[in-house]
Amino acid sequence: MKILDKLDAFFDSQKETEQKLTFFFPILIIGFIVYYFIFPITNDMFNNALHKNRQLNKAINSKQIHITRLKNSIINITKKRRILKIKIKKLEQTEIVMKKLLNKVKFLIFDLKRWAEIYNKIPKYVKDSNLLLLKLDNILFLNNKKTNNQLVNLKMQISLQVIGNFKNVVKLMNSFEARKDFVKIKSLKTDGKINYLTIDIYGAEL
């Protein structure tokens, strides 16, 4: 109360104009202090908080979009896996069928052991055909690359020189060609005495 009394006394000692100025003075001072010292601090706080808020919201929205996409991707991939599993199952069934089919044509598949067996049987074929074997050679072509145009890329070339009736030579040829294996007579030459026979045995590389 004493402060109020002192203030009252102070104002009473002033003229009206001076009073108005005195009343205006704190407004100026407060305005100055607030807007030069306090406002920049709170404004920075406010803007920083808002900026951070926007950034966080943006990040959250972006993350939510990513999560949604990721969830969709997981759903898609799960769906794809389900389809793939069905496809794999079908492929497995097809593979079984293919393997069965392959088993049926296994003699057309490259098998060196089998070729060796054929090679071993040649003297017997010659003998059974009443021919005399003069010479027997074989060359293996195992480095040929398989291409779409040439799937049956491997072969064993057998060269024979036999003496005997041509009719028996034909019989010998037939005994080769009658085999299940993929056999082709590559060349034949006879001069009445010696018969030159070149046989290709093919095998496909899986």
């Binding site: 607030v34 293919m98 089919l101 041509f166 034949l188």
Partner: protein, 531 residues
């Protein structure tokens, strides 16, 4: 801004002064500890130290020793032409030789007397401000202000204002220790007061020293006690005390002789035909029997005790009548906004918003609030957003965790899917490859036309056409026959049959007759065609 605040104060009915006219406290000017409070028209007594509510009007009255009474005449025709106050002040300073370095408070009443048609009488009461300021300092220190500071002579007007008395020509006699106050009112209007320098102490001195009786330990207090308990009522005295009563009666008779002289003088001065009533009391209470005594003495004038608080004092609290009248005067002054008789040296300040200091502080606070409004909003909003941001950060952290978890899950699934897809593709490729191989092999195997079959077939046609081969060769899918026959037609027929019947592609070098053997020879080329 100041006007605006004042206007707003009025709009919102903010009282200019925070008092309640129904609550008045009168502080005994001779003992500041004695405080009488009128609340809801009931008098209560409170000690000085007890708390009095802020809305109670604080009042007291000026002791007679600080009062200077002064009287002057002002021509009636000048009253409305001059500044009466200035005129009185100037005249009083001159006539009373007042100290010009001191400040005096002047209160006056202009009285029109039938005895003087040309002039008006100004009854002036003067108080030296510094004296009463100092005297009432304990009150102003405790309460900060005195709402009403009355003058004893003016206080009696309240009995007419409150209709305790009907207006007549009345004289109020009030004894204090040192003075006797005689106040004249005519029809409710103050006419004059006279302060006699003879008070109760003077009577005591006379009784003690001038009378024939001697009383042991007869102090002033004993005298006051005697006066207020037995007074002038013979019935209260024992036989042996009769002499005391007689002495007292003589002293009062002498006093009243003086007073009656004053009455006569006043009657003449104001051309009053008669005085109707006299009211008598002391600062210590009424004097028993004084009214009868005065009645006997004054004859036709009705005398009575100066005691007007009966209606307001159901609890019979001992209150001096000037304190009571001061309460009534204060109440009237604030109810009717009549401040002409108020000598206060320190008025109650207006309420906060009506004070300059209050307005200044209000403007400062409002400026502070207004200027801080936006920064405060920013601050608190920042705090709120900061809190939300923390929650958002937690949410983002959770989302990141969820995202990472889902991403791991997705990558794991993708890896498995790719692996499975690769395996499926491999299987598919393998199956396709196997299918292609099977188809190719099947086609190659079944499409191959056996050479032995071709040779047998050709041999049959050779035999039928009597064709003989010199040599046979096969290469590059061409079966070359070096043949001979006895007749050329055999050869041509043979070729024809191969083409016509077996649909073979046959080329020939032509048929030539061999001069040595007389056979026809030819080289036949049969192109072996696979299916």
């Amino acid at each position: 801004m100041l006007n605006e605040i004042s206007r707003m104060s009025r709009i919102h009915k903010i009282k200019k002064y925070a008092y309640d006219v129904n609550k008045v406290a009168s502080i005994d000017p001779y003992n500041f500890n004695n405080v009488f409070i009128l609340e809801n028209n009931i008098i209560k007594e409170k000690t000085f130290k007890e708390k009095i509510s802020k809305d109670t009007l604080i009042s007291t009255y000026i002791p007679l020793r600080y009062i200077i009474t002064y009287e002057m005449t002002i021509p009636r025709n000048l009253v409305n032409k001059i500044d009466v106050y200035d005129h009185i002040e100037t005249q009083a300073y001159e006539d009373l030789e007042l100290d010009e370095s001191e400040k005096y408070i002047f209160k006056y009443k202009l009285i029109s007397s039938a005895a003087d048609e040309k002039n008006m009488i100004a009854q002036v009461v003067i108080v030296e401000e510094s004296l009463i300021t100092k005297y009432f300092e304990p009150i102003t220190k405790d309460y900060n202000y005195i709402d009403y500071l009355g003058h004893s002579g003016f206080l009696f007007e309240s009995v007419y204002k409150t209709k305790i008395l009907k207006p007549k020509k009345d004289i109020f006699i009030y004894f204090t220790k040192d003075f006797t106050l005689i106040t004249l009112y005519a029809d409710g209007t103050f006419l004059q007061n006279i302060i006699l320098n003879q008070g109760m102490y003077n009577l005591y001195e006379k009784l003690k020293h001038d009378s024939e009786i001697e009383i042991n330990n007869f102090s002033y207090e004993v005298f006051v006690d005697l006066l207020t308990k037995k007074g002038l009522n013979i019935n209260y005295y024992d036989d042996y005390e009769e002499i005391l009563f007689n002495e007292l009666s003589i002293i009062f008779s002498n006093l009243f002789t003086t007073i009656v002289n004053q009455f006569n003088s006043l009657q003449r001065k104001y051309a009053l035909a008669t005085i109707d009533r006299v009211f008598i009391s002391t600062e210590n209470g009424i004097i028993p029997g004084v009214s009868n005594f005065v009645n006997n003495y004054l004859g036709e004038i009705e005398a009575d005790d100066l005691k007007f608080d009966t209606k307001y004092n159901p609890n019979n609290i001992e209150i001096d009548q000037l304190s009571f009248l001061n309460i009534l005067s204060t109440q009237y002054a604030y109810k009717e906004d009549y401040q002409l008789d108020n000598f206060t040296i320190k008025k109650r300040p207006p309420t906060f918003f009506y004070r300059k200091s209050g307005q200044f502080i209000s403007i400062t606070i409002i400026s502070l609030i207004l200027s801080l409004l936006y920064p405060t909003f920013q601050y608190f909003y920042s705090v709120i957003i900061g809190h939300k941001n923390k929650q958002l950060e937690i949410k983002l952290k959770n989302l990141n965790f969820m995202y990472n978890s889902l991403n791991r899950n997705y990558n794991s699934l993708l890896k498995v899917y790719k692996k499975e897809k690769k395996a499926a593709e491999k299987k598919d490729k393998y199956i396709k490859s196997v299918a292609q191989i099977i188809t190719t092999l099947h086609k190659a195997k079944n499409g191959y036309a056996p050479l032995s079959s071709l040779i047998i077939k050709v041999s049959l046609y050779m035999k039928r056409n009597k064709i003989y081969a010199k040599d046979i060769s096969f290469g590059k899918d061409i079966l070359e026959l070096n043949i001979f026959a006895e007749n050329e037609s055999y050869i041509t027929n043979f070729v024809n049959e191969l083409v016509e019947k077996e649909h073979l592609k046959v080329e020939t070098t032509g048929v030539i007759k061999d001069k040595n053997s007389q056979n026809y020879i030819s080289i036949i080329k049969i192109i072996k065609v696979d299916l």
